[in-house]
Symmetry: C2
Subunit: 331 residues, 2 copies
């Protein structure tokens, strides 16, 4: 099942809607509309049907997933009852980021990427990457949907993409073992961790991890595929820039299995419903590893087998209004 | 104005309520109750009054702050109309984390802390701390309120506290300069960034920043004080463990002014309403700097002039169910 989020114009401005994606049929089904129509056919008033339909299919993927089994059963029921009146053509919709997670982590779980990136920076891969699934935490406030333009902050001259999977958590849990964790993965999406390599490198000298180097933009989409429809360890992953293939890899090369990552995340703090966990960049899955950088206006396409294509174009560098004035080291 | 969040039992289980804190009078005012009573006195039905009151004063501080000027004016109006019927005794309430931010960042903006902590780890303070306000991003899913027990994850034997301020953002904005950023600070709270020093040190070798070392618990509270009532650069800060003073410092020693930090956060990505930004630890404001560690059952109190006291007791170390098996480095 492919589930996405789109934006439509309503009486109070743009609003998010959950859709079931029927890619082969070239259409999406607005789930709240399909459910409202189903309820109306069963005697509900328009207003009452709308209320219940929007409670079952809110605009937030996290809120919907939070309903547990009721959500996916509701999708099946609404889709089965739909006679086409809730459909929109796939080509014409405005996509939102496929998920709206409460927290986002991004691992570095492909050894080839670690080795290539470290070599470019003149370093060895630190031992700790082989001991635990290392991740940093991203900014959930700057997620971009499919076809969105990527902002180019004025502080960077070294823009890069990263070819990754994003695992979407389906239910809360704490201190899970991997066998349990597997059942907490709701689905998978494509994850483009746009990176400003110049400031990222400076920030990482602090030991506190990337901030401005990553937090300006992460593209997620075009939709989520439920975990029953994909083999997480058997996905071919490709990146193209302006139509030219730059990267190709396989998800199965990952050093930590998805359920090990999810179990580790749950340890001592708990998983949150709807949270998003990036796999880390597949080997040769970014410009840094290839000695290449992106330019303003470049179009980046990430394609993952069984999911689809996530496409974003880079914007123009923004003007700088202010920079912090360096401080003097005391003593 | 002091604003907090408490938990009360309702027909559907525990629910969060916003309160105005009248510390000198030993009581809090449940804002939605006060507003409902005001509306009922003006002829509203119970149900209609409840609906409007809960929309103005939801359980989420972020949602309330998102209402802009309407929120603080509403607090004043509800408080002025209150005749005591919406009051609860200060001593008896169950506090929630004072804020529920969409994203949390935590700076390292006090040079003395940087120097002391680096010296304990046998390092120099990296130059980048003097060039830009460095921060890491925390976990908004594990915020603790005043008087909550702090979980002790099974992976650590080196528990520590950190004495910090938390700045609460009042409105969105992007690419702000410091003079503008000042108007985006809603208030300030006390921030205890509990830290597992052993795993934090290992994680920081990766360059990706702390994760398990920080993400299990951050205490925030007991309430937020609006920025008009405090001088952010003139606050005395104290930490006590089991009643013994361990730390004392002043907010004015901070290397980056709060408005510089907020302006920097806004650069290239934007501020989010309700987000929380930690100041970083004041000099000598944690056990690491003092060569001391916390033990299970210890009580940590952070007191900040003009705000109040944030008190938390450490729980017992948790059992370990699973650890990741180390990987072999290839090649």
């Amino acid at each position: 099942m492919k589930l996405g989020r789109i934006s439509v114009e309503g009486p109070d401005g743009e609003e998010a809607r959950l859709v079931l994606v029927l890619a082969e049929e070239g259409r999406v089904v607005d789930l709240a509309v399909a459910e409202r129509l189903r309820l109306e056919r069963r005697g509900a008033s328009r207003e009452a049907a709308r209320r219940l339909a929007r409670a079952l299919f809110p605009g937030s993927m996290t809120a919907a997933i939070g309903l547990g089994e009721e959500f996916l059963e509701g999708v099946e029921r609404a889709a089965a009852a739909d006679v086409g009146d809730a459909s929109l053509p796939l080509g014409g919709v405005r996509w939102l980021a496929a998920v709206d997670p409460p927290v986002m982590r991004d691992c570095l779980a492909f050894e080839e990427h670690l080795k290539n990136a470290s070599a470019r920076l003149g370093r060895q891969v630190p031992d700790v990457f082989y001991e635990i699934p290392i991740y940093y935490k991203g900014n959930v406030g700057t997620l971009l949907g499919h076809e969105w333009e990527v902002p180019w902050p004025g502080y960077t001259q070294a823009m890069d993409y990263e070819l990754e999977l994003g695992f979407v958590v389906g239910k809360a849990g704490r201190d899970l073992v991997p066998e349990e964790a597997l059942g907490h993965i709701f689905g998978v999406t494509i994850f483009n961790d746009f990176s400003a390599r110049d400031i990222q490198g400076r920030e990482m000298e602090s030991g506190l991890g990337p901030a401005k180097g990553k937090d300006f933009a992460t593209a997620v989409g075009p939709w989520v595929v439920t975990v029953d429809e994909v083999d997480l360890m058997g996905l071919e992953m490709v990146a193209r820039v302006n139509g030219e293939e730059w990267s190709r890899g396989r998800s199965g090369a990952i050093m930590w299995r998805p359920e090990e990552i999810v179990a580790y995340v749950s340890w001592g703090e708990g998983l949150q419903v709807g949270e998003l966990i990036g796999s880390g960049t597949v080997g040769r899955g970014c410009g840094l590893e290839l000695g290449r950088v992106l330019r303003p206006g470049d179009e980046v396409e990430l394609e993952v087998q069984g999911i689809g294509v996530l496409r974003n174009r880079l914007g123009q560098p923004e003007a700088v209004r202010w920079r912090p004035a360096p401080r003097q080291r005391s003593g």
